[in-house]
């Protein structure tokens, strides 16, 4: 029996090649999308889950304020970990960590290592990274000890054992003793490193302040349920600790380690994802699968006319309703199986592309876990039933006599179901297209918005302590090169300036301080980045010298550059601010030298806030403005100079443009992912429409014949056949319109600076959807209209 069904199924697939092909394409795309997105979601949900003690680990978030506004950040000072461990019995252990770029040298190998992590020796108490060689209790105990991951060890030492050898770290070439080899960090871990060095290597680590918050602190609690009880004790405890600083507020909040990646607003060592995006992706995956199913249902029912005779005959030969039903469910299962198998091949092929799109390293083998396979199995069966049962029900309900006598008419109620499915499919497509268009417009707005600085042709170069000693020479040499307009050094470039300070004007009482972002710059910063002076004049060489903390350790004199918001905050107009006395922090008194136009020094999610730029010798990057005439020549020139002047560091540069784009990585990714899936959705919806219109054309073939005999033109017939479906697409558009409107505006709320959604988005979406629908329907309608009436009107 099964064999008979199987043969029938395969032969009817072959006979109805057109429908089978569309079904296979639709289902395969649906399954492929689902598998890919399922893998992605699984990967994200499993983030950090390999940490055996993960549920007991807390990350410490610092909350501080100098007045009304409370600032929060994912950094703490070095004091938190030891103090908390001593004072709170709930804390079993604590680790402080710090990640930074370091120059690593071994014999002739020199690399600029980005994943260089410092951690207390308690690291191994908290985290489940296995040491392949070395001892967890001693590997990080004491300064200048370092552990390498397996891959890193191979990179530097090949197959020889590195334990006991020394690496030279940074410009100072401090020797670090290699004390162990650690497993490579899993891909889905918020803690990733190539090198793990002892925290004590960084020197003065037992600072007695809660300020200087530059480090990440993780606590290991004795009990995973004691988060709340510990959290409740902290504010009171900190009040006592900060008793000597009455104008400030410092407290700490605990974040469950396993929730950081998807729920925390503060990134870890690795960028976070958002649970909202996971929900969006989950929803899109389900929608795509729905659309594929709907297409399948539609085509299945549509082609039922062709199968009607067979069903009739089988019933006459003794098949009962259920046998017919199961036969067609079986076919559905078979078709879906073929789709699943093709999908598995496609997934293997698409995974590298998808990994690039999603910035992941998901391996194909991740798919073949018992859990995933059983999930895939259930999706296969569910789709087989969901897609196959309606057509199977329709077919099994046929009355053999009517079918065989050619009296067969499809019930109009069935048509209702299929039309609703089409409308729903188009709604989803329209919605996705609107979302994609708006997101792309917002991204275009971000790219083209005048941010108040010039980010083109600005090269960013690292600047370390050793280079700083030699900085005047480096700068002079650089400026001799052709094509270089300006050279500046600073801590931050204008794409993203962070650094929490407080300030007050001389007129304000000492406790009237306000929060402000501030960053050290030099006298060419304004020129290099194209910031616009509104009042006053730029910093000078002399201003830099006067502010140099090394040359004037007792009384450095500061000249400040304020943005308009900062001047306003202190109660001055731009003009009035010049020459006024003010204080930045507690230890930087000075005068306002210039006011610059407000510019976007954070992503457009944030409003422009007060900003102070102050002269300082402290800096970590060089900004080089090129004239842009011959970029590659200029860069080659800088590279050659670099080799001479900075032999201890490989030449690495990036453009400020790229730094800018990184701010919007997750939005850019969302835009890319959505446009891909919107395309797929509309393709599937069109397939569904193609199916339904073919069905209608088939059903009305006699009517068409008669109309042709009576003299209807090709166009008139196409119009008759298409009208109904165009109306369906229009209805779908009208239904999707408000949902799309609501959703995109919700998304745009996250941007302080955003586009207003223009009606043209909806017009474009509407016109393109309906045009596409029209083409799809016309494709079959024209074929039907051109059929020979003599054939269609011939009686049995």
């Amino acid at each position: 029996m099964i064999r008979n069904y199987l043969k029938t199924a395969l032969r009817s697939f072959q006979k109805n090649r057109f429908f089978t092909f569309i079904n296979l394409v639709g289902l395969t795309i649906g399954f492929t999308c689902c598998i890919l997105m399922g893998l992605y979601i699984q990967n994200e949900l499993n983030y950090d889950r390999f940490q055996q003690k993960g549920k007991r680990i807390a990350r410490v978030i610092m909350a501080y304020s100098f007045g009304e506004k409370i600032n929060k950040g994912n950094y703490t000072s070095t004091k938190v970990a030891p103090v908390f461990k001593r004072n709170f019995p709930e804390v079993e252990s604590a680790v402080r960590m710090y990640q930074s770029g370091r120059i690593v040298k071994f014999e002739d190998k020199v690399f600029n290592e980005k994943k260089f992590m410092y951690a207390d020796s308690t690291f191994f108490d908290l985290f489940s990274f296995r040491l392949r060689q070395g001892n967890t209790s001693s590997a990080l105990a004491g300064p200048n000890k370092i552990v390498l991951t397996e891959t890193t060890a191979r990179r530097y030492f090949g197959n020889t054992n590195p334990v006991g050898k020394t690496l030279l770290i940074n410009a100072s070439q401090t020797p670090y003793l290699i004390t162990g080899i650690i497993q490579d960090c899993p891909e889905n871990s918020q803690i990733k490193f190539d090198f793990l060095a002892s925290f004590s290597s960084m020197g003065n680590i037992q600072e007695k302040t809660y300020w200087n918050a530059n480090y990440t602190t993780y606590l290991l609690l004795r009990d995973e349920n004691s988060f709340t009880s510990l959290q409740n004790k902290i504010p009171g405890f900190m009040k006592k600790e900060m008793a000597d600083q009455p104008n400030t507020y410092v407290s700490f909040e605990l974040e469950p380690f396993t929730k950081i990646h998807l729920y925390s607003p503060y990134p870890g060592f690795e960028p976070n994802n958002s649970i909202t995006y996971i929900y969006i992706i989950c929803a899109v995956a389900l929608l795509i699968l729905f659309i594929a199913c709907f297409t399948y249902i539609n085509l299945g029912t549509a082609s039922s006319i062709e199968r009607a005779k067979e069903v009739g005959v089988r019933k006459v030969l003794g098949a009962d309703k259920w046998q017919v039903f199961w036969q067609h469910i079986g076919e559905s299962i078979l078709l879906c199986l073929i789709s699943v198998v093709i999908s598995l091949i496609l997934v293997a092929m698409a995974l590298p592309w998808f990994n690039g799109l999603a910035d992941k390293h998901i391996s194909y083998s991740a798919l073949f876990t018992p859990l995933n396979l059983s999930f895939l199995l259930s999706v296969w069966i569910i789709v087989s039933f969901a897609g196959g049962s309606y057509p199977a029900m329709v077919l099994s309900g046929f009355q053999p006599i009517k079918v065989l006598k050619g009296l067969f008419r499809n019930s109009s109620s069935g048509l209702m179901v299929r039309k609703s499915l089409i409308v729903f499919q188009f709604m989803i497509s329209v919605f996705l297209i609107i979302a994609t268009l708006v997101i792309q417009q917002q991204m275009k707005y971000i790219r083209s918005k005048n941010l108040g600085y010039e980010r083109e042709h600005v090269l960013l170069l690292p600047l370390d302590q050793k280079m700083l000693e030699n900085y005047p020479t480096i700068k002079t040499e650089l400026k001799k090169q052709t094509g270089i307009l300006a050279v500046s050094r600073a801590v931050s470039n204008p794409t993203l300036i962070e650094g929490g300070y407080h300030m007050r004007s001389d007129a304000m009482p000492p406790d009237g301080i306000v929060s402000v972002t501030a960053s050290p710059v030099d006298e060419e910063y304004v020129r290099t980045t194209g910031l616009q002076l509104v009042a006053g004049s730029d910093l000078t060489q002399q201003d830099m010298e006067n502010a140099d903390e090394l040359k004037h350790p007792e009384n450095p004199a500061y000249q400040f550059i304020l943005n308009e918001s900062a001047a306003r905050e202190l109660g001055w107009s731009a003009q009035a601010a010049i020459g006024k006395k003010m204080f930045l922090g507690d230890d930087r008194p000075g005068y306002v030298k210039a006011v610059i136009k407000d510019f976007h020094f954070r992503s457009l999610h944030n409003k422009i806030e007060p900003l102070v730029l102050f002269p300082s010798s402290w800096s970590s990057q060089m900004l080089v403005k090129l004239d842009g005439n011959n970029l590659s020549l200029a860069i080659t020139g800088i590279g050659e100079l670099w080799k001479k002047m900075v032999p201890h560091r490989p030449f690495e540069y990036r453009f400020m443009d790229d730094a800018f784009n990184e701010l919007y990585e997750s939005e850019n990714r969302l835009a890319k992912v959505l446009s891909v899936f919107a395309g797929i959705a509309i393709l599937l919806a069109c397939l569904g429409l193609l199916g339904l219109s073919s069905f209608a054309a088939q059903q009305r073939i006699k009517e068409i014949g008669i109309r042709k005999v009576l003299g209807a033109s090709l166009f008139q017939i196409v119009k008759i056949l298409s009208k109904e479906f165009i109306l369906l697409a229009l209805l779908a558009f009208l239904l999707a319109f408000p949902i799309g409107w609501w959703a995109v505006n919700r998304w745009l709320q996250d941007f302080s600076y955003r586009i207003t959604v223009h009606w043209s988005v909806f017009a474009i979406t509407g016109i393109s959807t309906i045009t596409l629908a029209l083409f799809t329907v016309a494709f079959r309608a024209i074929r039907a209209a051109r059929s020979n009436p003599a054939k269609s009107l011939r009686t049995e």
């Binding site: 008979n4 005779k309 067979e310 005959v313 089988r314 030969l317 003794g318 006599i401 065989l404 006598k405």
Partner: protein, 222 residues
């Protein structure tokens, strides 16, 4: 074997009741060969379908082999039908996707007959109808006469007591038609299969032992 009493069949067309069959009383013994004749729309096929349990009457009683067809449960009726009735159509109605062999085999599948037995039964039938050489062909590769031969073979494979044929020669030329009629006669005489056929042709009707004429849903004369 078959007793029809006061069989009525109608459709409601708006407020009008359109009668297809009116007051049909008929008794058919086992081994009979009956031809039903009548003009288009006289209810021939409807009567055949009711006898063949593909359709129900609007009113009346139908006993088949002692069982009340309209009263028994769907499942029992289905069993009764599968065991005893074979159908032959004017348009052959072979399953296009199946070969000659598979078409003939299909009714046996629905009766859950074991593979070995099935094979020998189909082989016998192919042999008897002289179509062994065509067993792997698809219906579209056969002539009309050959297709109808397969249709009859398929109808007879489950050894039914009753063979119902709805204009079995309607799509065939006269020579092919004659062959089919000879075959019917042989089946009826040698194997005792009861045959009821609907036909337009006087000549073919004459192969039957008894002719029933229908006019406007009534039996005209016996």
């Amino acid at each position: 074997m078959i007793q029809l009493e006061k069989i009525y069949k109608w459709h409601n067309n708006g407020n009008n009741r359109v009668f297809i069959l009116k007051d049909i009383n008929l008794s058919i013994e086992e081994g009979a060969f009956i031809s039903i004749m009548g003009p288009s729309g006289s209810g021939k096929s409807s009567l055949l379908n009711i006898i063949g349990m593909l359709d129900e009457a609007s009113e009346g009683n139908y006993r088949f082999l002692g069982q009340d067809v309209f009263q028994i449960k769907e499942k029992q009726r289905s069993e009764l039908y599968k065991q005893n009735i074979g159908f032959v159509f004017q348009a052959y109605h072979l399953i296009d996707e199946l070969t000659v062999y598979e078409n003939i085999e299909t009714p046996l599948l629905y009766q859950k007959i074991r593979t070995a037995e099935r094979q020998s039964m189909v082989a016998d039938m192919l042999d008897r109808f002289n179509i062994v050489g065509k067993k792997d062909l698809f219906p579209s590769q056969l002539s009309g006469g050959q297709q109808q031969l397969v249709g009859i073979a398929r109808a007879l494979i489950a050894k039914p007591k009753l063979l119902l044929a709805d204009e079995p020669t309607g799509n065939l030329n006269s020579k092919q038609g004659e062959e089919i009629m000879e075959l019917f006669k042989k089946i009826n005489e040698e194997e005792g299969v009861t045959i009821i056929q609907v036909t337009h042709s006087e000549k073919n009707a004459a192969y039957g032992k008894q002719i029933i004429n229908l006019l406007d849903g009534r039996i005209e004369k016996k």
